[in-house]
């Protein structure tokens, strides 16, 4: 098996992405459709939340992705800053719009869920506020890429922005633990004790958890498929730009 750094070669990355893309897309579609249909049509109402519990199948996976996409961008940005691999920073650029959509879905479904349960669409709770700031960081990251002509300078500056924004990605996840206040509950799905049953805190019942797990897997696979597709697109755009520049010179 070759080194992971082989994929820093744009040709090698494009070839591998093209090979894997159909399989990852099919698996993503199967997981997402099965998880959502199972959750929406075949799970009961919650005794306290009624049918609004069905929003969990969209809200939790999108919120998890919103935070973790930023961490993926952080890792690939650090690889760019340390090793100067173009494919790495192009993967971060390709992931950002997916992260925006995930954050938007998490915010929108959270507001729609919060209105009947908390009696308000929005509250300046630490976790919600950190999430809103993360959303603004995503927009700023994309705007910065668009604002700078030199691709290497844009890559450097967006990578630094990504490092700064990681504070808010972290706060989005742990704000409830840090401040211990606000309306939003703590982790009840992706918590070690909730998964193993080792603690006695509130956790999601298995009847909701299994379709939710399938939706989370579907969202992760959808993200992987989109990053393969969008990174390959960025590589194609760069190659075209280089060829056009050569044409003009010639």
């Amino acid at each position: 098996m070759g080194s992971i750094w082989e994929y820093a070669n744009p040709v090698k990355f494009s070839r591998t992405a093209t090979l894997l893309l159909p399989w990852v897309s099919i698996l993503a579609a199967i997981s997402l459709v099965t998880g959502l249909v199972w959750g929406f049509f075949f799970t009961p109402e919650d005794f306290r939340q009624g049918s609004t519990v069905k929003i969990i199948y969209l809200h939790v996976p999108s919120a998890l992705m919103a935070i973790n996409v930023w961490f993926m961008m952080l890792v690939t940005s650090l690889i760019w800053l340390i090793r100067r691999h173009h494919v790495s920073v192009l993967a971060a650029k390709a992931a950002a719009p997916v992260g925006v959509i995930m954050t938007l879905i998490a915010l929108a479904t959270g507001a729609i869920w919060g209105q009947p349960m908390w009696g308000t669409w929005w509250v300046w709770d630490p976790r919600l506020t950190a999430f809103l700031i993360l959303f603004l960081f995503y927009l700023g990251y994309i705007a910065l890429w668009e604002a700078i002509d030199n691709p290497d300078t844009a890559a450097d500056l967006t990578s630094v922005l990504c490092i700064v924004g990681s504070v808010f990605a972290l706060l989005s996840r742990y704000a409830v633990n840090f401040w211990n206040q606000g309306l939003h509950q703590g982790a009840s799905v992706m918590r070690a004790g909730a998964v193993t049953g080792a603690d006695t805190q509130e956790k999601v019942s298995n009847i909701f958890f299994y379709p939710l797990l399938l939706c989370i897997i579907g969202f992760v696979l959808l993200f992987v498929a989109l990053v393969f597709l969008r990174t390959r697109t960025e590589i194609h755009k760069r190659r075209t730009k280089a060829l056009l520049a050569r044409e003009r010179l010639g």
């Binding site: 049509f41 049918s51 969209l58 999108s62 938007l104 929108a108 989109l226 755009k237 075209t240």
Partner: protein, 50 residues
């Protein structure tokens, strides 16, 4: 077939409609952009190769 959503039907349906719209739009825009970039690269390479 449609589950009984009770008094929260509007909230549940709007959450699903908004999310699915955003997800489908993101996939379609990504595919369209990929096709356009590939076609432009193919045209540039064809010009280069004469």
């Amino acid at each position: 077939m449609m589950p009984e959503l009770g008094k929260y039907a509007a909230e549940v349906m709007s959450a699903y409609a908004a999310s699915l719209f955003l997800l489908i739009a993101m996939v379609l825009l990504s595919v369209r952009s990929a096709r356009k970039a590939r076609a432009e690269l193919a045209a540039a390479e064809a010009r280069k190769n004469g």
